[in-house]
């Protein structure tokens, strides 16, 4: 049963605060530079069948404690792989002998201080690989037995341990397992409460789900993390509020995306309240060519919209007003259309103090796009520059409009220069790293550690940086977007010359720590 972890705020003493200077920017440009990785999400016979077009995920995190984030790619037909970061955008590839994988999360499951790897599978339960100083051993998570497509790790019941929310993509399960009599007992949205020693206690919230995305964050500002399942097709997204009496289904949003492909949270207007972007499918321009490519698909879309259906066929940007009421501003802020969108990520790419948005897109499908060469809807990834929280503008100058079929992505400072780089997992095309060479602004990176607890990377904590130019809020999370594993590091960008005033950490148990000993262009590791 969920329980409140919104304890009255108390000051938490910190055991230490290490400050590492970030490296100097070796290159300064107005655009990102593309690097190709020797990795490609493959399909069994080079063709696309069923839901292989959904691709696989990518995760980032420091797996060997060398201070550089490594990369982990899931794969469907080919083997998954770790790319060990050797600095200066050089990576050493190590293949893992596992296929048919979907999502990636780099989480310290066993609380030994090292990030482990968890994958979801196309047809099976999540796979857990224990990290022993860079060597990985597969270990069973007791009672985690249901197939899942999406996952999210967070402390849901306030006991200090990381619980797992896993949700299945039933369309895929039913398509590929039509003869399975027991199919209806498989999958669903399941909360696995962590009881320690890799033992979990499952609680199924619902069976009927098409979960392409999951988000766990506090949606009603009561201090408890809630669950948002982003569903494909006509099935509306499912939201459960974490109430003292148990999980309570709710729909706090005026509108939601119809085919939710990804969910990502961030504070786009720096008001201190969480905002959420949900990606969906909608042509990003009104050109004849674009509409021609999309029309055969549009003909197949739903015929009848149920009364009071909150779903719209476009991206959603949901923000909160001062009273905490959610409002949809995607169209007003011009992020409603980004093509056949999959993973979206927020990050202050140009370090002006406002979270920008990057969306990867494209589709390959023999049914919907048989009129197109290689059945592929070729689209350009969309980079949106956040204009002071008022508006988003596509930013072609950043050179991020790649046309490979992107499915998942993470943002991480791969070379430790304080700028967020982007890693994209593409379907049937090499994975890409987009090296951030933008010159503007400065940054501060924050990592949290809670050794001796069951949540060593303080997932769920919020970090608020107050500067003379604004106050910026981030949440520590290990999963998000579409199939992506985020690095548990908070990146703050801010305009050059901004005075850093304070850093307020709200730990997962509600206790707070505040420090004002801050220097721009540093990486701070706060240990409690």
């Amino acid at each position: 049963m969920p329980a409140a972890n919104a304890n009255a705020a108390a000051s938490a003493p910190v055991a230490g605060m290490k400050v590492h200077p970030l490296s100097t920017r070796s290159v300064c440009d107005e655009a990102f530079a593309a690097h190709t990785l020797d990795f490609e999400v493959a399909t069994p016979d080079g063709d696309i069948n069923g839901f292989e077009s959904n691709g696989s995920g990518v995760g980032a995190g420091d797996l060997n404690g060398d201070g550089l984030p490594d990369l982990v790619f899931a794969n469907t037909a080919g083997p998954a792989a770790i790319f060990w970061n050797e600095g200066d955008f050089q990576f050493r590839k190590e293949e893992l002998g596992y296929k048919n994988l979907r999502a990636v999360a780099l989480v310290d499951v066993d609380a030994d201080g090292q990030l482990d790897i968890v994958f979801t599978q196309r047809y099976g339960p999540p796979l857990y690989f224990h990290n022993d100083a860079g060597s990985f051993t597969r270990i069973n998570l007791t009672n985690v037995y249901q197939p899942a497509y999406s996952m999210y790790w967070a402390d849901l019941d306030g006991d200090g341990r990381l619980d797992l929310v896993a949700a299945s993509y039933n369309a895929e399960l039913s398509k590929d397992r039509t003869s399975d009599f027991f199919f209806k007992y498989l999958g669903g949205v399941i909360v696995y409460y962590n009881k320690g020693e890799n033992v979990f206690e499952p609680q199924k919230l619902i069976w009927d789900t098409q979960a392409l995305a999951l988000l766990v964050t506090d949606l009603n500002n009561d201090g408890r993390p809630d669950i948002w399942v982003g569903n494909d097709f006509d099935l509306a997204d499912q939201i459960w509020l974490n109430m003292p009496e148990g999980w309570q289904a709710a729909m706090p949003f005026p509108h939601i995306s119809h085919s939710t492909m990804g969910l990502v949270m961030g504070d786009v207007n720096n008001d201190g309240r969480a905002d959420v972007f949900a990606s969906d499918m909608k042509p990003y321009d009104i050109g004849i060519k674009t509409w021609t490519e999309w029309l055969p698909l549009m003909e197949t879309m739903r015929k009848i919209v149920p009364r009071n259906d909150p779903q719209l066929d476009e991206n959603m940007l949901l923000t909160q007003d001062p009273s905490g009421k959610w409002q949809e501003v995607g169209r007003a802020m011009r992020v409603d259309a980004s093509g056949w969108s999959w993973a979206a990520q927020f990050g202050d790419l140009d370090q002006d103090g406002f979270l920008d948005l990057y969306v990867v897109n494209g589709m390959i499908d023999k049914t919907f796009f048989r009129h197109l060469p290689k059945f592929e809807l070729v689209e350009q990834n969309q980079a949106f520059h956040n204009d002071a929280g008022r508006d988003f503008m596509t930013e072609p100058k950043w050179n991020l409009a790649a046309s490979a079929s992107g499915r998942s992505q993470v943002m991480s400072d791969l070379n430790g220069d304080g700028r967020l780089d982007i890693v994209v997992s593409n379907l049937r095309a090499p994975a890409m790293i987009y090296e951030n060479r933008l010159c503007s602004g400065e940054s501060l990176e924050v990592a949290l550690r809670m050794p001796g607890t069951q949540n060593t990377f303080a997932l769920g904590a919020t970090v608020q940086l107050k500067t003379s130019k604004g106050t910026y809020t981030r949440e520590m999370r290990a999963t998000g977007a579409h199939l992506a594993g985020n690095e548990p590091v908070a990146h703050f960008g801010f305009p050059s010359g901004a005075v850093l005033q304070s850093l307020l950490i709200r730990w997962p148990d509600g206790n707070t720590t505040e420090t004002s000993d801050l220097t721009p262009h540093t990486f701070i590791e706060v240990t409690r």
Partner: protein
């Protein structure tokens, strides 16, 4: 040319528009042709797999003789200028029924936008509305040229011109997309009902030229669905058609009454 509206001995009618639209002696023709048209349409749907638009077309074809008789009678009674106004009012009224049907499909019966095509438009929404708006525009120009000049008529002309531009833009895009689809070997896609200049996802809302300008901030202009946009556009056009006709016909009645 005949310029009398009503017999000099008759009082001025309270609503000259309704007076003009009154079928009068042609009522019996409508009483005969409307049921025939409805029966033909119903028969077509039941036994010949008529789509709805074909049944509606059958009704219109059946009623057309009665309409022609009515308009001919108007012409003989009031003159060609007022006969034109009668035709315009009738036709716009019927066109309004089409938009009301679309509106009901979307807002009452919860059809999707692409399914909410009304009664006749499923035949081909782009052709129907493109041809219709140009015919209406020419009719308005002809009526104004022949003497119906008042402030409402000029506003009506402006509304009709902009409406025709909107449909022409949509029609050109429709033909371009059809051509592109054809080159890809796709021939079973209707490509109708796509956004035009105004409304949600229209040129004004999505063009890089307008981004960040005041135009994008005007409520409705860049946010309304095409169906709603054209419903209200039609309401406005119909309103000004009635107002312009009312003012013009009232003046005619006044002249006639003073004689």
């Amino acid at each position: 040319m005949i310029h009398t509206l009503e017999a000099p001995s008759q009082p001025k009618p309270s609503s000259p528009v309704l007076s003009l639209l009154n079928p009068r002696e042609t009522t019996k023709w409508f009483a005969l042709t409307v049921p025939i048209g409805l029966l033909c349409g119903a028969f077509g749907i039941a036994f010949m797999k008529f789509p709805l638009w074909a049944a509606v077309l059958a009704l219109l074809v059946a009623v057309m003789p009665a309409l022609v008789i009515k308009w001919r009678a108007d012409g003989m009674k009031y003159g060609k200028r007022i006969m034109l106004i009668s035709i315009l009012l009738t036709a716009q009224g019927l066109h309004s029924v089409e938009h009301v049907a679309q509106w009901a499909e979307y807002h009452v019966f919860n059809f999707t936008l692409r399914q909410s095509n009304g009664l006749l438009s499923p035949a081909n929404a782009e052709w129907v509305h493109f041809v219709w708006n140009w015919v209406v525009l020419f009719a308005i120009i002809a009526i104004i040229a022949s003497g119906m000049r008042n402030i409402w008529a000029w506003i009506l002309l402006f509304v009709a011109v902009t409406h025709t531009i909107e449909h022409s833009y949509s029609f050109i895009r429709y033909l371009q997309i059809l051509s592109e689809l054809g080159s890809m070997g796709v021939t079973n896609i209707s490509a109708q009902g796509l956004p035009g200049i105004l409304g949600r996802d229209g040129w004004l809302a999505r063009s890089p030229l307008t981004q960040g300008t005041i135009w994008c901030g005007i409520p409705g202009l860049t946010t309304a669905e095409r169906l709603d946009l054209h419903f209200w556009w039609n309401v406005i056009e119909m309103t000004f058609t009635v107002l312009a006709s009312h003012v013009y016909l009232s003046a005619k009645f006044k002249v006639q009454s003073s004689k």
